[in-house]
């Protein structure tokens, strides 16, 4: 019969205990690092963000201002002066592309910021608040699901446009780098996107409320605020991060659609969608006008999608390999 002492004797020699402990986030990061595609997409994305910021700060990198028209150089192909050619008004496509990329990035990130605030707030409120709040939210999300997304975005955008309001309208003051029209697009897209996140957070919160550690915290006398902020919210973050990382490309896509049908920013500012729409009109004269913005949209969306895939695999315990 094996006793406790024997068991200790039987313990294999030379076995080293793993002394370093990895937390949830460190483990997730390690898994993400092993995913080559996600790392590549992330690095490329970082490079794009750096380049997009740099072109707006250093005129030498931009070459020409994005709205500068050179009538002696219309519809030109790539050359040393214009690395990607010029458009129908002689504007430099390289500079236009980076301006559009900046707008797409701002819209992707800005939309998700608004969605995060409202999604988490309303989702948590519905799960932790009374039955009434919950009921209102769920009925509203049902309604939003029945409402065609892009139609709602278009209507919201036209409600917000041509308003003399400060910051989010045409009035003064305006935020530097974030013109009112851009914020309007962000708000219009966020208006239909927060619902999914609110539902997700609500579901997470409802199931977390029943977990043992929340019960333990409560029995030790933790306040509701403490339980929510230091126990429940951090545990909803995994799915929320995944949802946000997939929300960014869909916001970029939605803006591109708005730009394509002419509901995005007013000219001469061009988003990537607007550039595609212009390119579609003039591609017989200059194919570069359509190829450049299309490729930019595709690369951006691919990067975010691959990064999102990687994050999902890293953060979702069910898909752990």
């Amino acid at each position: 019969m094996a006793t406790a002492e024997q068991a200790i004797v039987l313990e294999p020699r030379g076995f080293e205990f793993q002394t370093k402990q990895y937390g949830l986030w460190a483990q997730a990061f390690q898994r993400l690092r092993r995913n080559k595609l996600a790392v590549m997409a992330g690095s490329l994305l970082l490079a794009i963000i750096v380049m997009a910021t740099a072109t707006s700060l250093v005129p030498a990198l931009e070459g020409h201002a994005p709205h500068e028209q050179q009538f002696e150089d219309l519809q030109s192909s790539p050359s040393t002066t214009h690395p990607l050619g010029t458009d129908n008004l002689g504007r430099d496509l390289w500079a236009r592309m980076w301006e559009g990329t900046r707008i797409s990035l701002k819209i992707g990130l800005g939309t998700q910021l608004v969605v995060l605030i409202f999604g988490i707030g309303i989702g948590a409120g519905a799960a932790l608040g009374g039955k009434w709040t919950d009921n209102i939210l769920m009925r509203f999300t049902d309604l939003m699901y029945a409402f065609p997304d892009l139609l709602a975005i278009i209507i919201m955008k036209s409600i917000l446009s041509q308003r003399p309001w400060p910051i989010i309208g045409t009035g003064d003051p305006q935020l530097p780098g974030l013109p009112g029209a851009l914020i309007q697009v962000i708000l219009a897209i966020a208006f239909v996107s927060w619902v999914t996140l609110a539902r997700l957070v609500r579901g997470q919160m409802l199931s977390l409320r029943e977990t043992d550690y929340v019960l333990a915290a409560r029995s030790m006398g933790a306040s509701t605020r403490r339980i929510v902020f230091s126990h429940m919210l951090p545990n909803t973050l995994g799915p929320v991060i995944v949802a946000v990382s997939f929300g960014i490309p869909s916001a970029i896509f939605a803006e591109a659609v708005l730009g394509f049908i002419g509901f995005s920013l007013p000219p001469p500012t061009a988003s990537l969608g607007t550039l595609v729409s212009e390119g579609q009109r003039y591609y017989r004269a200059n194919e570069w006008m359509i190829i450049v913005p299309s490729a930019a949209i595709a690369v951006l969306m691919l990067c975010f999608t691959f990064l999102g895939d990687g994050l999902r695999d890293a953060l979702d315990p069910r898909t752990r390999r």
Partner: protein
Amino acid sequence: MTGYIIRRLLTFIPLLWAVATLTFFLMHAVPGGPFDAGDKALSPTTRAALNKKYGLDDSLPRQYFTFLGDLAHGDLGLSFQRARPVTDVLKDGLPTTAQLGICAFVFALVFGLTLGVVSAVNQNGVIDYISVLFATAGAAVPNFVIAVFLVLVFSLKFGWFDVIGWEFGNPRKMVLPSVALGLFPAAYIARITRASMLEVLRQDYVRTARAKGVTEFRLILRHVVRNALVPVLTVAGPIFATLITGSFVIERAFAIPGVGDAFVNAVFVRDYGIIMGTTLLFALIIAILNLVVDVAYGVVDPRIRF
């Protein structure tokens, strides 16, 4: 089952009412009215007369109740821009939009299923990698970008298809819009089919079938694909709905006069009737498709009872 369908159909009424109400107040919140815009500015008296004719000078609540009363009779009012009943405009556009949506859907199903099945059968082979790459790329490129490139290559370089337009039965006008609209859902369906096929291929009954000597072709077709179809069915309804409601982008890219195109124009000129009609029509289509999917579950999976 009949009882279930009737109960579900009854829930359409409050749903459509809610969509109509939301749309009504949203579109009246859009600055300006239908007779403010336009190339020629109207004189104030003309505009007042027009507003009076269409009841736009009433108070908003009053307009709302008049609208609801008309809606209950199936009357969506007049299109301000076209001076025709909204229902007529929708009747003109719907067949085109529906044809485009159905063609894109069929393409997405056939292409997506084939790709998913072939890549699952050749798991980790070259074909698998190519189709997974396609499925990821297809899901990341917006459909109007695809449309433009298809036109660039197949219409302008090879001259196989027309650049714009839609004509049912004429492949020169049908192929490119359908492919452009259907490529995104095709990629999605391929992904789901592949995952679901791989799952089914590991089941015991597949091994049993193999052991008793069923040929590989018959095994895949009768034992695996059939069982792998259930998750695809789940997404088929929403996919079809987005194809119909999202087709306006492709309609604009190919200058196809469908319902979606009418909607986009209507928002530009604040043609309230068309905006309302399109939204309600699309909401109804989404609701019906959800119902069809739920009923189809019961048919495919006999364990589900209503």
